[in-house]
Structure formats: C-alpha cells, structure tokens
C-alpha cells in the first residue's frame, strides 16, 4: 500500500557496499540511490494522498489510518532494533504515553471549562482535576508532551540502562517488564486514568467534531503526512554518519568503544527517537479510534508492534513499514472472520519469519538475487 522509499539495504553486505560509495552527494534523501528514493517517496505520497482516499470507504480509510499509526512505531523499531540491535519490547509504553497525553487534553476539552471529564464524575471520587491532569488542558503543552514525554522517559531509562552496559536479552526483558508495570499501574489508578477502560468516548479534536467523516478524513491526511515525514527523517538519520555508527555499535560494540565513541550515547539516541515516534503514533491513534486503554499498550500489543517490523524486515525502512501495515491489515481481515485462527496465524508468522527468514520479507529479494547469481556462475560459489 505504501510503496515508500527504496531503502532495501536489509543485509549487512549491502550496507557495507553502500558505505563504500562516495558520500559526496548529501541531498534531501541522504547518500545512496537518492533518485530511486525520491521516486519511491513520490509514489508513496500519491498512493497515500490520492489513491487511498478515493478508493477506500470512510470506514476502510479509518482502518488504514490506524495501520499507519502502527507503521510510525515500526519506523522507530526499525531504527532501534533493526539498525541498533536494541530489541525493545516496550514500545507500547511510549505509544501509551503519547496516547494518554493526547487523550487527557481531548477529555478536558470535551468536558468544557470548569467541568470534570465524564468518567471522573461517574466515580465521584475526584471533586477537581488532579494536579497532574491540569497542564494537559493547555493544547500546546499537551501536543508537546505527546512527543517529549515519551522521549524524556526513554532518555532517563535508557541512560540508566545503556551506561551500565545492560544489553541484549537483559534489555529486551527489562523493556518488556516496563510495559507490564506501566499497564498494571494504569489499571490501578482507576479514579484518575479510567483504569481498565482507559480514556474512552473522545468526541472532539481541537474543536473539530470527530463524528464528522470530513474531519476523520483530515485526521487521516495528518497521519499520512506525519508518517511520510518520519520515514524521511529516519532515512536521513540512517544514511548519516550517526546511522553508520549505530550499525557499527550493533555489530561490534567493543570496536566502536575502542575507536573513542561512547556506544551508550549512540544507542540512547536511537532509543529516544524511537520512543518519540511511538509517542507521536499513540497521540494520532487517539482521534482515529476515540479511545486509549491499558489493553492497547501492555506486553501483548507491545510485541505485536514488533511483529510487523520483524515480518517485513527489521533493518529495512520499507520492509518494516509495509510489514507493520500488512500485519495490522491481516489481523483485521482474519480476526473479523476467524478470531481463533488469527492467533495461530500470528504465532506461525513469528515462527516462520524469524526462524527461517531473519531478514524478513525485505531480504527475500536479496536472497533470490544472490541465488540467481550463484546459478549463473554454475553454482560453484556457495
């Protein structure tokens, strides 16, 4: 659906050849095949802004908007995990922080000045807005918080974790525990966070009525634009000097340290940027679905966010984005008809994609190309 930039450097071999190319031309799309990237990007823009809105019904377009939000998270996962080797199973936390920041503002705005959000009146426990809700009444603060709050949390946590060289499995498990703790904490704070239900029934979006299909369409366009922006900046980052360093840290952290860089900082940047992207995705998810709840951000959804990137190709931006959209679409299509079958399919997808195709679908092209080349050589080169 989103034929975006043509960065398909999924394998290390390709990354290496790319690095050898002269990097004199640093245009809008950075080094490496800028023309192809620009064409792919333009095609994606046409599909997202012209084809999809014309071809899809309002309902389907809403679903697509939802998938594009998961794709935004996948862009961050591609950076942190695919490029940096940081398997973060807690992206749901940052998605949730962004989502709750946005939802809190929209709830306050819905309630009107001086009134409490509906669920607080229902429980009758709070007579006035809790102090930490108050700043979110300000739209500028709330908007900034959707991105800066997740980034700040990631920065604090990441600097603790990476400086002490907690990595690999330790990091994955810690990030997963974070997702569990965050959702449990939200559920526990019934009176101020809506508990298990979360923040529901969001009506307006900065003064626009969300029931109006025209406004829903606008939200879709905002999401599509933000996604393209994120992909472009991620691509720029990947092809920068920093991007090379990130891959170097993934492949041999010690060597990078001996060269005089601090791998902790390199990893921290990827983690924080990925968190910001997830936060933005969460914030834009809220007006589409009208709800944010612990069920959307715990362990299971956090891993589901990773699966798309894994199936599509963790190290390739296009792969990760298409994988995220594809898997989210498959989930809707399959779970509407056969809810049980979806779980089996999802499990199988994980097993097949990671056990037998670690580079994801994006690496298929490269594998086929290499096999053809080998056959052309008479199959002598293994």
């Amino acid at each position: 659906m989103t034929t975006t930039t043509t960065d398909s450097a999924a394998t290390k071999a390709e990354t290496a050849t790319e690095a050898k190319q002269p990097t004199g031309f640093k245009g809008l799309w950075g080094a490496g095949r800028p023309a192809r990237a620009a064409v792919g990007f333009a095609a994606a823009a046409v599909v997202l802004f012209a084809v999809a809105p014309l071809a899809l019904s309002d309902f389907r377009l809403g679903l697509l908007a939802k998938y594009l939000c998961t794709a935004m998270v996948a862009v961050g996962i591609c950076l942190a995990w695919g490029r940096g080797g940081l398997l973060t199973l807690g992206q749901g936390v940052f998605f949730g922080l962004g989502g709750y920041a946005m939802a809190m503002h929209l709830k306050i705005a819905d309630a009107g000045p001086g009134n409490l959000p509906d669920f607080m009146q229902l429980y009758g426990t709070a007579t006035e807005l809790p102090w930490w809700w108050r700043p979110f009444g300000n739209p500028v603060f709330a908007l900034a918080a959707t991105v800066l709050l997740p980034m700040a949390v990631a920065a604090i946590l990441g600097s603790f974790i990476f400086r002490r060289r907690v990595k690999g499995a330790y990091f994955a498990i810690l990030s997963q525990a974070l997702a569990a703790a965050f959702s449990i904490w939200l559920i526990g704070q019934q009176a101020t966070t809506g508990g298990t239900n979360g923040l529901t029934d969001i009506q307006g979006f900065f003064g626009y009525d969300l029931d109006d299909p025209v406004n829903q369409r606008m939200v879709y366009f905002i999401i599509a634009a933000v996604l393209l922006l994120l992909i472009a900046s991620a691509r720029q980052l990947i092809h920068s000097r920093y991007g090379e360093l990130l891959v170097a840290v993934r492949d041999s952290e010690e060597r990078v340290r001996f060269l005089g860089y601090n791998p902790a900082n390199v990893k921290l940047v990827a983690y924080v940027v990925a968190a910001g992207m997830a936060g933005l995705a969460g914030a834009l998810f809220v007006p589409v679905v009208g709800i944010i709840s612990p069920a959307l951000i715990g362990i299971v959804p956090s891993i589901e966010l990773v699966i798309g990137a894994a199936v599509g190709g963790r190290a390739s931006l296009v792969g990760a984005v298409l994988g995220a959209v594809g898997v989210a679409w498959a989930k809707t299509a399959l779970s509407e008809e056969f809810p049980a079958a979806w779980t089996y399919f999802q499990g199988l997808l994980f097993v097949v994609a990671l056990a037998f195709l670690p580079g994801g679908l994006a690496s298929l092209a490269g594998i086929i190309r290499r096999r053809r080349a080998n056959q052309a050589l008479g199959g002598e080169v293994a």
Binding site: R165, A169, I173, A177, F350, V351, A355
Partner: protein, 298 residues
C-alpha cells in the same frame, strides 16, 4: 510483630512460587542462553495436566501426587519437541529465540483456549493442604497456610534436585561442559545436540512442576503463563544468568519486597516499585547478583 512475621511469610511464599517458575528458566535461559517465552505456557501445561488428572482420579491428594511426575513429563516433552523443531536452529541468535518462542506461546495459548475453553478452570486442593497451621496463638494469631508451606517445600526440593543433578551426575557434567565450551565438549565425544535436548527437557519439565504448584494458589487459564513469565525472567536476570544460588536469593528477596510494598502501598504501585528497584540494582551490578568471572570485555 505478628504483622511483620505474617508479611514476611507471605513474601517467602511469593518467593517460593517465583523460584519454582524461574527454576526451569535458570537451566534453559541461564545455562543454554535461550530466551524461551513459551516457558509460561509449559507452566500452563503443567496446571492443565493437574486439572485433567483430577477429572479421572477423584482423590485430590492422589491426583496431585500423580500430577507432579506426569506434568514434568508432559511439559518436558513439549520443551524437547520445541528444542528439536525450532530452537536448535537458533542457538547463535538468542534474541530471535525470544520472538520465535513468543509465537509458539501464542499458539499454545490458543490451543489451550480451544481445548479447555477461555474461562479459567479450578482444581480442588488435597484436604491436607486446605488447612493452616497456627504458629502464634493468642488474640492475634499467626497462621501459615498449608498449601503455601507445601509450595515452599516443593521449591526447596526442586532446587536441591536440580543442583545435585548438575553437580554430581554424568548428565549434569555433560550439560555444564557444553555450556562452558561447546566445541571442546563436542570434540571430547559429547553429543551436544542430545545434551541440549535433555537440558531443555529438564528445564521445561520443571515448568510443569511449577504449574502443578500454581493450581494451589490461583486459577488455571490460557493466560496464566503470560502473567508469570516476566517475573520469572526478572528473577534470573537479577540473580545472574546461569547462577542457581543467585536465582534462589533473588526470588525470596523480590518476594518479600513485593509483599512488604503491597502492604504499605497498593498491588499496582508495588509492581512498579519492584521494577524501579530492579533497574536501580542493575546499575550497581549490571550482570546480576552473581556472575561468572571471565576475561570477556563485558
């Protein structure tokens, strides 16, 4: 005083449960370096084994006695099968084992849902374990539930059995040899593939035993594995990978910490505080409580 003792005992019994669920992992994750997310579902398999056996054996006491070895075999067989089908292809990519086995765990959960239904099921505890013993009499009596004491005993027995197996038996020596230097073990004539599978069988079997114990403290359902797996991994990580004594100490410390925090705050805040404590602890000892001293750079 009674309150403190009572909370401490609660903490120790939480610790015993933690230890039981983490023990199998200390073999598969700690020794084999495989992050088996389906471990929680092996625990679930053990719990459902107890449930099934109780359907045919009406005496709750007898069915639980039978369930312990049967659950060990059932979960062990599942583990060995998983190792043979998938994990042996992934020993060089430990992070990928995490996601692959997560996929397996999803499928096992759905399988349990299809066979036993989505709602939780209940087993009857044996009569011996339903009561409690009174430790301190008087106006404010201090009582220990028998089932909790049984789990504590089971956890201790399992730790002793595992550690004796690893230290004293030829199999244990082979497992340690493979863990320490796979290539050297291979050239010494040890079939590393078979050792891997056996180690996986034992580790997963211990998950089954934990599952039997869990039927005494909570409901049995398709999602019970997910609820315990993270805690189990945290115990291993904080204890130090591959260090049995680390896991034992950390399980009890975390159990008591959790119990004390739950008493002074709420359950959900306690969970968050425990995690904060763990992150803080890893600042002090990034490799866990006990580590093998090596010359490696990390």
């Amino acid at each position: 005083m009674t309150v403190i003792l009572g909370q401490t005992f609660t903490g120790i019994s939480i610790g015993a449960v933690l230890l039981l669920i983490a023990l199998g992992l200390s073999l598969t994750f700690g020794q084999m370096n495989v992050i088996n997310m389906a471990h929680g579902e092996f625990i679930m398999a053990g719990a459902y084994t107890t449930y099934v056996l109780q359907k045919s054996i009406t005496s709750a006491g007898l069915s639980m006695l039978v369930a312990l070895p049967v659950a060990f075999l059932v979960s062990g067989a599942l583990g060995a099968l998983l190792e043979w089908l998938l994990i042996r292809r992934l020993y060089l990519r430990p992070l990928d084992t995490l996601l692959v086995t997560w996929g397996v765990s999803l499928m096992l959960q759905q399988l349990a849902r299809d066979i036993f239904g989505a709602p939780n099921v209940q087993t009857r505890a044996p009569d011996v374990l339903t009561g409690h013993i009174t430790v301190l009499g008087g106006d404010d009596p201090l009582t220990f539930a028998n089932s909790r004491l049984f789990i504590l005993g089971l956890a201790i027995a399992a730790v002793v059995a595992l550690s004796l197996t690893l230290r004293l038996t030829p199999l244990g020596r082979r497992i340690r040899a493979v863990v320490q230097n796979r290539d050297l073990a291979e050239v010494s004539g040890i079939s590393t593939g078979r050792v891997d599978r056996t180690a996986f069988f034992i580790g997963s079997g211990l998950a089954g035993v934990a599952g039997v114990a869990l039927t005494l403290v909570g409901p049995i359902g398709p999602t019970m594995g997910t609820n315990v797996i993270i805690d189990a991994f945290l115990v291993i990580v904080v204890g130090g990978i591959g260090q049995l004594k680390g896991s034992v100490i950390v399980a009890f410390v975390l159990g008591v910490l959790q119990s004390v925090l739950e008493y002074s705050t709420t359950v959900s805040v306690a969970k968050v505080l425990v995690l904060v404590a763990i992150v803080a602890f890893l600042q002090w000892r990034p490799q866990g409580l006990y580590t093998l001293r090596t010359r490696s750079l990390v």
